[in-house]
């Protein structure tokens, strides 16, 4: 083997604390090294050209580049050596920047360490084998999980480009959180007026199949060929017959059901159509509130339904689908704010969440757009908004900023003044976070034009006294304790990952952070991809964001999915495990531990053997570490390759 070694200066990033020329010269003595040099910027075009030239001139068969982390430029250099006619896996990197030059200033120690890292890379490269990907056909269909504004955008963009799309929505209607909002900031335009047409588009698009009131039950397969099982939950209404006339909801005698869509602001019936613009506009029965289910006696809806759509015996239904890519757009939920016992923990009816307040403001909401105190129906005059209830609060496990509360609170303060001109709004805030087009101007307007009283400080306690709520807070700018006698308190409740998000992540095999938000492939450069090929992210499921950002990410996810599914064939990563059938004794230990069920037992002339399903294997190497005979080896990270690296460092 003829190995070429290139020690990158990275300007002064590496050369500042590593003697690159000395490393290059040491490397010349390493086994199989035919050429070694230092180079100013290996990743820049002249650098890559120099590598290619050296490969050709010195007839190199393998290349080591010592520069930055392989997580940054391994793909770059693999392409470089490929352009010079080598197999892309005949390449290794030594990380002498992040792991050497940037973490210490001792030039002698750094130079020695860099040389050792190069030696490790050379030792490994000597055992590298040419690896070739296999190609397989792609299913040109996209699954979008979640029908909020991000999912809607992703689905419409992909469908418009000609892709078949399946949308799965957990609730009986799409629209997500945006459908619950009265107005949107900073334009104060009507939320359902701008979202409604998009929802209709989803329903009418020939390329989109919508499964509402459904969940993803299981997912198997891999990029290009996922097998999805969708569970259509029993709505007890045959939607092929239901016309959405709403007669059942008028006649239903059970009138004390929790109104999920309206955040419990008012009660609703047991059979519901969530709101007038619901898509699909179909009725469904909430079993826990239904008299027919609870007492066995009622049947009113079945009696009044003109099309005979009610079916109390309905069971969950399963649908199998094949898709090539998946967009997760599961959004967010509000955290359970009742942990704040100091705000009453839910005991005081006139302490409401911002989303409940949104439903009170909405003309299609349960109060018809009139702001009323839940306790006595009176119009409040002093409304206190408390920010960061469950945001930026380590003590409740929510240290992050929810991002959009400052803005919607400003909006709600404006709407409060619009609805009740003689009202006074008080906003307790810690910082006003309004970086966005027209956002900061908006938060100025609410104070200057609408006279909202912004108080910099937090609220320690809210308690009822007579008809009023006493809000005990601080104005830290004044350095004083303050109290407000309020009629209504609105909590800007922090948002968290949607309920069940980690569960879905497990099914999708994507990672999620400790709060349940899905992890993007790279925080800057791969913001809508995940580390599982073929799975993309849109909207707040990846991290909290407002409507414009969610829509943008929906489009971005669609673009990524389209780029993937525009191809007829895909290459599989060859860094996977393979079994040496001669050495395998069929003990099944690898099958036992494989997290991906990527190993199956086969029969070879009457002997049980293990076999790797190449398209399913993700290349973790757990099987390799488990196999006592070493019969199963992970390509590019074989026992011998790792041993070579260890032995490059140890005498043994």
């Amino acid at each position: 083997m003829r190995i070429g070694v290139f020690i990158c200066h990275c300007g002064s990033n590496i050369a500042g604390t590593v003697d690159c020329a000395a490393v290059a010269s040491k490397a010349r003595a390493y086994p199989d090294v035919a050429y070694s040099t230092d180079i100013m910027y290996a990743c820049a075009e002249p650098g890559q050209d120099a590598i290619i030239a050296a490969i050709k001139e010195h007839l190199l068969t393998g290349v080591v580049v010592a520069s930055c982390t392989p997580r940054m430029h391994e793909p770059t250099f693999r392409k470089t050596v490929e352009r010079a006619g080598l197999n892309r896996y005949m390449f290794e990197m030594a990380n002498i920047r992040e792991h050497v030059s940037w973490i210490g200033k001792d030039i002698e120690a750094n130079t020695n360490k860099a040389a050792e890292l190069v030696r490790m890379a050379v030792s490994k490269l000597r055992l590298n084998r040419e690896l070739k990907p296999k190609s397989f056909p792609v299913t040109k269909r996209l699954l979008v999980v979640g029908g909020g504004v991000a999912g809607i955008q992703a689905a419409l963009d992909a469908a418009d480009a000609g892709l078949e799309v399946i949308m799965v929505e957990k609730q009986p209607t799409i629209g997500g959180k945006m459908a619950k909002l009265d107005k949107t900031f900073p334009t104060v335009d009507c939320s359902s007026c701008i979202l409604g047409p998009r929802m209709v588009d989803v329903a009418q698009h020939p390329n989109i199949t919508l499964y509402a009131y459904s969940e993803v039950d299981s997912i198997s397969g891999y990029v290009g060929n996922f097998d999805v099982k969708i569970r259509k939950k029993a709505s007890y209404v045959d939607w092929s017959k239901c016309t959405g006339c709403g007669l059942c909801t008028e006649k239903c005698p059970s009138k004390k059901s929790y109104d999920r869509f309206n955040e419990g602001v008012g009660p609703t019936t047991a059979i519901i159509i969530p709101f007038p613009q619901a898509i699909p506009k179909k009725a469904s029965i909430e079993r826990e509130y239904c008299r027919q289910f609870n007492t066995g006696k009622c049947g009113v809806c079945a009696k009044v339904c003109p099309t005979g759509a009610i079916d109390y015996g309905m069971q969950d239904e399963f649908i199998d689908a094949k898709v090539g890519g998946i967009v997760a757009a599961t959004g967010y939920d509000l955290m359970d704010w009742t942990v704040y016992q100091e705000y009453g923990g839910g005991r005081y009816p006139d302490v409401v969440t911002s989303l409940q307040y949104e439903r009170m403001l909405s003309a299609s909401g349960p109060t018809g757009g009139h702001i009323k105190r839940p306790s006595d129906g009176e119009e409040p005059k002093d409304v206190v908004f408390i920010q960061c209830v469950g945001s930026r609060d380590v003590s409740v496990g929510r240290p992050y900023c929810s991002g959009f509360c400052c803005m919607y609170t400003a909006k709600q303060a404006i709407l409060t003044k619009d609805h009740i001109p003689d009202s006074r709004s008080y906003v307790f805030y810690m910082d006003i976070r309004s970086p966005g087009k027209g956002y900061d101007e908006f938060t100025r307007r609410v104070q200057e034009e609408y006279q909202a009283r912004y108080i910099r400080g937090r609220v320690s306690m809210v308690y009822p006294k007579g008809k009023k709520l006493i809000v005990r807070g601080a104005d830290t700018l004044m350095g004083a304790q303050v109290e407000i006698e309020a009629d209504l308190v609105v909590l800007a409740v922090g948002a968290e990952a949607a309920e069940g998000a980690p569960h879905l992540a497990e099914k999708l095999r994507i990672s999620y952070d400790s709060y349940g938000f899905f992890m993007e492939g790279h925080p800057k450069l791969r913001p809508v991809e995940t580390n599982t090929a073929g799975v993309f992210l849109a909207g707040a499921c990846q991290g909290l964001k407002d409507i414009p950002s969610s829509v943008a990410q929906g489009s971005a996810a669609a673009a990524k999915a389209l780029a993937l599914l525009s191809r007829d064939m895909l290459d599989s990563d060859p860094q996977i495990a393979s079994v040496n059938l001669n050495r395998c004794v069929g003990c099944r230990k690898c099958i036992e531990v494989c997290p991906f069920k990527a190993i199956q037992e086969i029969d070879l002339r009457g002997q049980p053997k293990a076999e790797v399903i190449e398209t399913v294997c993700q290349g973790c190497g757990l099987c390799n570490a488990t196999c006592p005979q070493g019969a199963i080896q992970l390509s590019h990270f074989t026992d011998n390759q790792l041993l070579a690296e260890v032995e490059a460092l140890c005498r043994f």
Binding site: N580, N582, R583, C584, V585, C587, R588, K589, E592, V593, T626, P628, Q629, G630, A631, Q633, T638, D639, N640, L643, F652
Partner: protein, 320 residues
């Protein structure tokens, strides 16, 4: 011995449905029994059990796949079978186990030492068991030895003298010698300073002749002909005759047995140069029992290193 006859009847009764029954018969010397493969009544007559029934018949199981076989088993042998079954390496349905209460087996090294100056072990002509003693028919007259003085170390910490999983159990069950294994032997060993332990292994392993008898005697070694000790892909061991390579092979074997070793001690017994190999395996067993409460060959669940829990109550992760 009445129990011996009862076992024989049990073998004879089971034999028609089996390809063979493995037990023990006379060996090359009066003090050594050897594995006996019984296929007919005449073979059954040669069967002996008792203090000399040292070999672990489970060793033969993986190579006998395909036909139903019978095994006469001590408690420790049954654990090996149990572990093979738990790992799906053999099918329990294809095995007929005949158990009997084991009251210990001989350790030839100890016996040889006990006879030192009186006679060579090979000169002994016969042996008879009398309660807690054995009586040897030696050239200079009878020699009486206490069983406990010449029994294998493992017998002194025996928790499972009876093959609880046996299909047929002959005789009255024996009481466990101890309720739990306190690994006092390891504790005593670890009373030595770290450097002394290191030196101990360097000295012991320097005697190793790389004959792999230890591996070949191990009923749980599944690799058989595909041992990494003799492979270049992967190339874990060099052929250099160094102590480290020799020790490293033992570490490979011990690591492969972690969570699986039932402590039958056959490795150590088979070692021609007397290296205390079971110590290494017991160090792993102590860990596995302590961390996962798993007793190899007794528990029927997945071996602990082939599974996991989301929260590991016994693993106290270090705080950094």
């Amino acid at each position: 011995m009445a129990i011996q006859d009862d076992i024989k009847s049990a073998i004879a009764e089971a034999l028609p449905g089996l390809s063979c029954v493995i037990g023990w018969g006379a060996g090359p010397e009066a003090l050594r029994a050897a594995p006996l493969f019984m296929r007919d009544a005449a073979d059954v007559d040669k069967f002996t059990a008792g203090f000399l029934a040292v070999n672990n018949p489970a060793l033969f199981l993986p190579s006998l796949k395909g036909a139903k076989v019978g095994l006469v088993v001590k408690g420790c042998d049954a654990r090996s079978v149990g572990q093979l079954v738990a790992e799906n390496l053999v099918s329990r349905e294809a095995i007929h186990l005949i158990g009997y209460p084991c009251r210990g087996v001989i350790d030839m090294d100890k016996a040889t030492a006990a006879l030192e100056g009186r006679c060579e072990p090979g000169e002994v002509k016969g042996l008879r068991e009398e309660n807690e003693d054995i009586v040897l028919d030696a050239p200079g007259g009878e020699i009486r030895l206490a069983k406990k003085d010449v029994a294998a170390d493992k017998c002194a910490r025996c928790r499972y003298p009876n093959a609880e999983s046996a299909d047929v159990f002959v005789g009255e069950k024996a009481a466990p010698v101890v309720e739990r294994d306190d690994y006092a032997d390891l504790a005593a060993f670890e009373n030595m300073a770290l450097d002394a332990r290191k030196a101990f292994w360097e000295k012991e392993m320097s005697r190793c002749i790389r004959c792999y008898a230890c591996r070949n005697a191990c009923p749980l070694c599944v690799c058989r002909d595909h041992c990494v000790a003799s492979s270049r892909e992967p190339h874990w061991l060099t052929q250099a005759d160094g102590v480290r390579d020799k020790l490293f092979f033992q570490l490979i074997h011990a690591t492969h047995l972690a969570g699986r070793c039932t402590g039958c001690g056959e490795c150590e017994r088979a070692c021609p140069v007397g290296i205390p190999l079971l110590t290494l395996k017991r160090a792993f067993s102590r860990q596995v029992e302590g961390l996962f409460g798993y007793t190899a060959g007794i528990d029927r669940s997945t071996p602990p290193l082939l599974t996991f829990k989301l929260e590991e109550p016994a693993i106290k992760e270090r705080e950094w």
